[in-house]
């Protein structure tokens, strides 16, 4: 297709600077294509251009989210509680399962469109309040203002980046007693800057992020949280459809995941219990 090869002609009356700009806008490669910030700096564009004025009033967290039309439904049960009496929203088993990469079909589109993930998550065994204050303490020296609303936070970058200020929404969910999942989503700004921000932030959050101690099976040192990891998974069913085969694999995993502190009797008992369940 002609447009994919940027094979087009401009009318002869276009100025050369206009033609140059259009060529850079109609660049089929999203990585080399001109950005909006660069367009605004372009000489031809700037002639006679009056920039719009944006009010940046102190809006509440809910208003900001509504404006940016987050596709996630908001967890209203947290907002309704009074300050201090709220608990993090719970994430039930199906919601947890739906965070799987295998169920996230938007990857099919993102890869083709050259997009990168706008969200990431980590788990923590620390109390939710501790998680919040740790994120706050880490993000503020990085040049981010913090707005809190129960167990949701908005981190606002003070510096202007490639696509304006970076804004990140953070939300904490309870998965199980003393196990929390923290989701971070970019709501404004450049996604690559968001990746950089998160990489820096997670270094500061090392104390609260809960990861497996045994990383022996993983090739890379710290997996990129935005790219699905491809470690040698303990779970590799030989046949796709049969639940029976999957169950065999399940037995292997559950034996592997019994906590190391357990005594050998407990381990044996747990192993037996799992086999029975299936």
């Amino acid at each position: 297709m002609k447009i994919f090869k940027a094979d087009f002609d401009c009318p002869p009356w276009f100025s050369s600077s206009a033609k140059k700009l259009i060529k850079r806008i109609l660049d089929p490669n999203p990585l080399t294509r001109i950005t909006v910030a660069e367009i605004i700096e372009n000489e031809w564009f700037k002639k006679g251009y009056i920039p719009p004025r944006f009010e940046r009033a102190d809006v509440s967290l809910d208003d900001v989210d509504a404006i940016f039309n987050e596709s996630r439904d908001s967890r209203n049960l947290v907002e309704q509680c009074e300050e201090g009496s709220a608990v993090p929203a719970t994430m039930n088993a199906f919601e947890l399962i739906s965070t799987s990469q295998g169920l996230n079909l938007s990857s099919l589109f993102e890869k083709q469109m050259g997009l990168v993930k706008r969200e990431t998550r980590f788990t923590s065994k620390c109390p939710a309040n501790e998680i919040i204050s740790k994120i706050e303490k880490t993000a503020m020296p990085m040049g981010f203002g913090v707005k809190k609303n129960n167990y949701k936070m908005k981190l606002l970058g003070e510096k202007t980046g490639r696509k304006g200020h970076l804004a990140v929404t953070t939300e904490i969910f309870q998965v199980a007693p003393s196990l929390f999942m923290v989701e971070l989503r970019k709501s404004e700004g450049d996604t690559l800057e968001f990746h950089k921000f998160y990489n820096n932030l997670s270094t500061g959050l090392k104390d609260i992020v809960w990861t497996t101690t045994d990383r022996g099976k993983v090739e890379e040192k710290d997996g990129d949280p935005f790219v699905p990891n491809s470690p040698k998974s303990a779970f590799t069913p030989k046949s796709e459809n049969s639940l029976k085969n999957s169950s065999k694999a399940l037995i292997c995993i559950t034996e592997a995941i019994v906590p190391k502190e357990a005594t050998s009797e407990q381990q044996k008992a747990k192993g037996r219990m799992h086999t029975k369940c299936l």
Binding site: F4, L96, I97, Q101, P177, P228, L243, I257
Partner: protein
């Protein structure tokens, strides 16, 4: 019009597919661009096989994942072991923001009912939880997994959804659950489908430009 015949496979006509789904013809054509890209990534035969699907989802054609397997099986409506363009469009139709809640609920139920028994059983949910945890490299003790599962059970019984108290979730109970907790269907909507023609310029638009230039 662009050519819709690849070397081996004959694809279903976009107008026909548009009439069967909520997509308009230009959107079906845009989906064809996506389909072409995925289906030619390992074997250029106009069909998406399991490896190509895995490559598209995980950027790793060898990555096995029980959820992706289930999605693949549901897309492969004719049970041929490959997804053709018609399968692709008809399945994605369910993920369109405007598709009915009923269709999305049904698809999600079939997704989670891994062995297709018509029930979502406790051991299936446990299997899925463990697979998810392996994927995220979380090692949780059995107590925590059981605690998570118990939450599902209380979730179900608390809502009086497990009407027959058999500890399994049937389609009616699932519909009930979803009606009260719509976030369970979050994975069933792909907002990208609304803007598919801007992401993948369609054949029709380009061929018109060609005619004018000629």
């Amino acid at each position: 019009m662009g050519c819709f015949h690849s070397k081996v496979t004959r694809h279903e006509d976009p107008t026909e597919l548009a009439s069967q789904t909520a997509f308009i013809v230009s959107e079906v054509e845009a989906l064809f661009e996506l389909f072409k890209s995925i289906s030619s990534s390992v074997i250029d035969d106009g069909l998406i096989n399991k490896e190509e699907f895995q490559l598209a989802l995980f950027m790793n054609k060898k990555k096995e994942n029980i959820f992706a397997n289930r999605v693949f099986d549901l897309f492969d409506a004719k049970k041929k072991g490959v997804i053709d363009f018609g399968d692709f469009v008809r399945a994605l139709n369910i993920f369109h923001p405007n598709a009915s809640q009923e269709d999305k609920t049904d698809f999600a139920f079939k997704l989670y009912d891994m062995d297709g028994t018509g029930f979502i059983e406790r051991n299936e949910v446990k299997l899925m939880l463990i697979a998810l945890l392996c994927e995220s490299e979380m090692k949780l003790g059995d107590e925590i997994i059981e605690a998570i599962l118990d939450k599902v059970r209380t979730f179900v019984t608390f809502l009086d959804a497990d009407i027959n108290q058999d500890g399994k979730i049937d389609i009616l109970e699932w519909q009930n659950l979803v009606a009260r907790n719509p976030s369970l269907l979050k994975i069933m909507t792909l907002p990208y489908l609304r803007d598919i023609t801007t992401a993948f310029p369609s054949f029709v638009f380009n061929s018109k430009v060609d005619e004018v230039a000629a």
